[in-house]
């Protein structure tokens, strides 16, 4: 069943919105150049996917926290599955149709909306049909189990990367074996061969980008913080979609310079910074504009996101590209949510709260995300021990029917009042 909107219609909406925002940004002299660069990058990413048929490109749809470096190195077009649902929610606000299509497929309401929505979007034909479906178990069961149905809907072959639980040497070797198998799979189905030198280049680029993330994170420690509250989502998207791409490096370098300049001028992202917040998990996509407004109004800025922007230690070695790709998957901020939850993660949360001079934390309790919600109590206890209050916001990352703007506004206002009262 094809939606009357036609194939690729959701992508067209995203592209249009991104180009518009980029143009608006360029028209404002005081706007950060990096913002326009970011939206242009996004638009180009989706544009490439939209025109894949004409250009003869091979599309590999993939799930989140995926080694897309391998895909890029083989000159294949990656299509990031979950962010596409987020972008649809963010730019078109029309999530109900694809969610209900997901339900029609027999997917239970407890399956998280990014995955229900994704299956729905594919079944409606509003996304380009991928040539292969790639997925892994990072970081949860929904991701691990989504692939087979998507293969069926898209009538395409697929490959599942089994990411091990711990990061011992044996397990990293196992992961490398999985990656090798995937390369063979892609070579077989795409007719393209892996260019290992190219992968080394891509890995070198990713390594640069991770260093840039770290530098940008350091700059955010300053009071007042230079990076605006929802900015971290841009950093996230860049790694999801454009890891190892030169335009992403250019964006990050520009952003780093802008933030450095702001720090030197003592300029903050909001005029009167009152509340420095730690964000745990993802704010609802459909509330981006509203959250930015609230941020300006209350002087509340997210300065650190332990499991979204804080990279694990280590450098990538371009001389060992496959091993680097495997190691990178353990360094990704969110990857810390996958292995055993131990003292390291807990200490990190407390350390970051102190280093970033956090006043309070907001935990976005996404109703579909079981494994992150299961850490609410643990992180709350850790933060309360160092006298940082935590607001738990029940919400959904893309579905506006779970928590309305009014509800979120009321809870956040209450929380800011709580912080002010101290």
């Amino acid at each position: 069943m094809t939606s009357p909107k036609g194939e690729g219609s959701d992508l067209k909406t995203i592209i249009r919105a991104c180009r518009l925002i980029a143009r608006m940004n360029q028209a404002r002299p005081e706007a950060l150049k990096s913002e326009a660069m970011y939206y242009e990058m996004l638009a180009n990413y989706y544009d490439r996917l939209l025109n894949a048929r004409e250009t003869g490109d091979f599309i590999a749809a993939h799930t989140v926290f995926f080694p897309s470096e391998i895909i890029y190195a083989m000159d294949i077009l990656p299509m990031h599955a979950e962010t596409t649902t987020w972008m649809i929610s963010l730019f078109s606000g029309e999530i109900a149709e694809i969610l209900s299509a997901g339900a029609d497929l027999g997917l239970a309401p407890e399956i998280c909306t990014p995955h229900r929505g994704l299956a729905g979007a594919f079944s409606l034909g509003t996304l380009p049909r991928p040539d292969v479906m790639l997925w892994s178990n990072m970081v949860c069961d929904n991701t691990a189990k989504s692939g087979e149905l998507l293969m069926k809907i898209n009538r395409c072959p697929g490959f599942f990367i089994d990411h091990p639980f711990h990061n011992s040497e044996e397990e990293i070797a196992y992961l490398m074996g999985e990656l090798e198998d995937m390369v063979r799979f892609l070579e077989e189905h795409s007719g393209r061969k892996m260019d290992w030198d190219r992968l080394s280049e891509v890995v070198a680029e990713t390594d640069k980008q991770i260093e840039l993330y770290r530098e940008i994170n350091e700059l955010r420690k300053v009071v007042p913080t230079p990076f605006h509250s929802q900015g971290f989502l841009q950093l996230l998207s860049v790694d999801y979609l454009l890891a190892g791409r030169p335009e992403a490096t250019a964006y990050l370098e520009t952003l780093r310079q802008e933030l450095t300049d702001m720090v030197q001028q003592g300029k903050g992202a909001v005029p009167n910074e009152r509340f420095r917040l730690m964000s745990l998990f993802l704010p609802p996509m459909y509330l981006m504009g509203f959250l930015e407004r609230i941020s300006q109004e209350y002087g509340a800025v997210s300065v650190t996101e332990p499991f979204f922007t804080y990279w694990g230690e280590g450098r990538l070695n371009p001389a060992k590209p496959l091993e680097s790709v495997a190691k990178k998957s353990y360094m990704i901020p969110e990857a810390q949510m996958y292995g055993p939850l131990d003292e390291r993660q807990l200490t990190r949360v407390a350390t970051l709260a102190e280093e970033y001079k956090v006043d309070g934390a907001i935990y976005y309790a996404d109703v579909g995300c079981r494994h992150t919600c299961a850490t609410i109590k643990t992180f709350k206890d850790v933060l309360n021990d160092i006298d940082v209050p935590v607001l738990t916001l029940d919400c959904d990352v893309v579905d506006p029917t779970v928590a309305s703007q009014e509800e979120v506004a009321e809870k956040m206002e209450r929380f800011f009042e709580l912080l002010e009262d101290r």
Binding site: K145, E148, K152, D162, P164, E170, P340, V367, T375, K377
Partner: protein, 390 residues
């Protein structure tokens, strides 16, 4: 209606023994005796934990299960949050309230989100002295088997350190024997359900299975042998309107099955973490395979959990059972927020449809007794199956 009312089953003292143990768990005499004699008890969760290793170390493996019925889960929910499956919350609550304080250790696998978070919180807030989580691959290829073997060996070493003992190959061989016997006996029990009028119901089988998780295997084997002996001369024949199979993840409340069977739906087989998935495959030692290699191989390629890839392996096995037990219809019980099984449902339903086998999908809370809404839907399903048969 099942022709044999419950009072007949009271004449099966061998079954009553299992019931008594279930009633008293976790303060069952069999466990208390073991502890009193200085034995160590290790709690395990998921069919991917190799029990034989624990047994060979001279310890008692006890499966971590939740409350036997649907209860208020305030503590479980406060810690794991409302969107973790009620099974994980139920287990955690029992742990938080001290019901598992008799455990010296807990062992799990990286099997699903509910299980791994349960173990994360268990470590932080309950802190059983020994704690181990094995990486369990999701594939069946040789590389996966290698990794899992590596994990099992590491677990064995960890256990040896903790207990200050060595687990010899002889001990492992002996444990394999004991556990294989268990599996063989359970298979015999299930074989009885293949007949037109099985001497044992699905609910009663579940009672036996639950007991098997909570007592020393040797004693269980003895009790099960006694039960099989008694059943062979009991003359009981349960009749039903249709033959059903229950599929799903965890099910521990026999009342759920009973409520289906009192409507006339004879549950002749099942595919659950607490039933066939637990006992189906034997550990096989052939050629130069070491005991630990054999154990590791069996556990990874055993009757699959929905987490494994590809899902066809699980579906193939389900179809095999459907054929073996001449099943008319399938009831799927999926606990709310059980994601792996929920994802399997559309694909499994399609395959069942292609074979003309009706399925009733129920989403339930862990421990449900199957009353109210569920009963109504079951009744309608049975009527539909009966009409189909005519």
């Amino acid at each position: 209606m099942i022709d044999t009312p419950h009072k007949n089953n009271a004449s099966l003292p061998t079954l009553e023994r299992f019931r008594e143990l279930n009633r008293t768990f976790p303060h069952a005499k069999e466990i208390l005796d073991f502890k009193q004699q200085g034995g160590k008890v290790f709690g395990w969760l998921c069919t991917y934990v190799p029990e034989e290793i624990i047994h060979a170390a001279g310890a008692l493996p006890i499966r971590i299960t939740g409350y036997p019925t649907e209860v208020e889960l305030e503590d479980g929910t406060a810690y794991l949050y409302v969107n973790s499956c009620s099974f994980s919350r139920s287990c955690l609550q029992m742990g938080l309230r001290g019901e598992y304080d008799f455990l010296d250790g807990v062992v799990g696998g990286s099997t699903c989100d509910g299980a791994r978070r349960l173990f994360d919180l268990w470590r932080k807030y309950i802190g059983t002295p020994f704690h181990d989580v094995l990486t369990v691959p999701r594939k069946y290829n040789e590389r996966a088997h290698q990794l899992y073997l590596d994990q099992v060996v590491k677990f064995k070493q960890h256990l040896e350190e903790f207990l200050e003992t060595t687990i010899s190959d002889e001990a492992l061989l002996h444990s394999i024997e004991v556990y294989n016997e268990s599996r063989t006996l359970l298979r015999e029990l299930y074989e009885l359900r293949k007949s037109d009028n099985p001497p044992i119901t699905g609910a009663e089988t579940m009672e036996v299975l639950i007991a098997s998780f909570h007592m020393p295997k040797e004693l269980f084997n003895q009790w099960l042998r006694d039960l099989l002996d008694e059943l062979s001369v009991s003359g009981i024949g349960n009749k039903g309107r249709v033959r059903l199979m229950i599929v799903g993840s965890v099910l521990e409340n026999p009342e759920f099955i009973r409520s289906i069977e009192t409507e006339g739906g004879l549950v002749v087989t099942d595919e659950l973490c607490t039933s066939t998935r637990y006992w189906y495959d034997l550990v096989v030692i052939e050629g130069s395979t070491t005991p630990i290699e054999a154990i590791s191989r069996r556990y990874l390629s055993n009757f699959p959990c929905a987490r494994m890839f590809p899902s066809d392996e699980r579906f193939d096995r389900i179809f095999d059972l459907i054929k073996q037990f001449r099943v008319d219809g399938v009831i799927s019980e999926i606990i709310r927020y059980c994601v792996p099984y929920a994802h399997d449902l559309p694909l499994m339903t399609e395959r069942l449809k292609a074979q003309g086998i009706p399925i009733l999908p129920l989403d339930v809370e862990f421990g449900t007794s199957g009353s109210g809404q569920i009963k109504t839907r079951v009744q309608a399903f049975l009527e539909m199956l009966e009409a189909k048969k005519r």
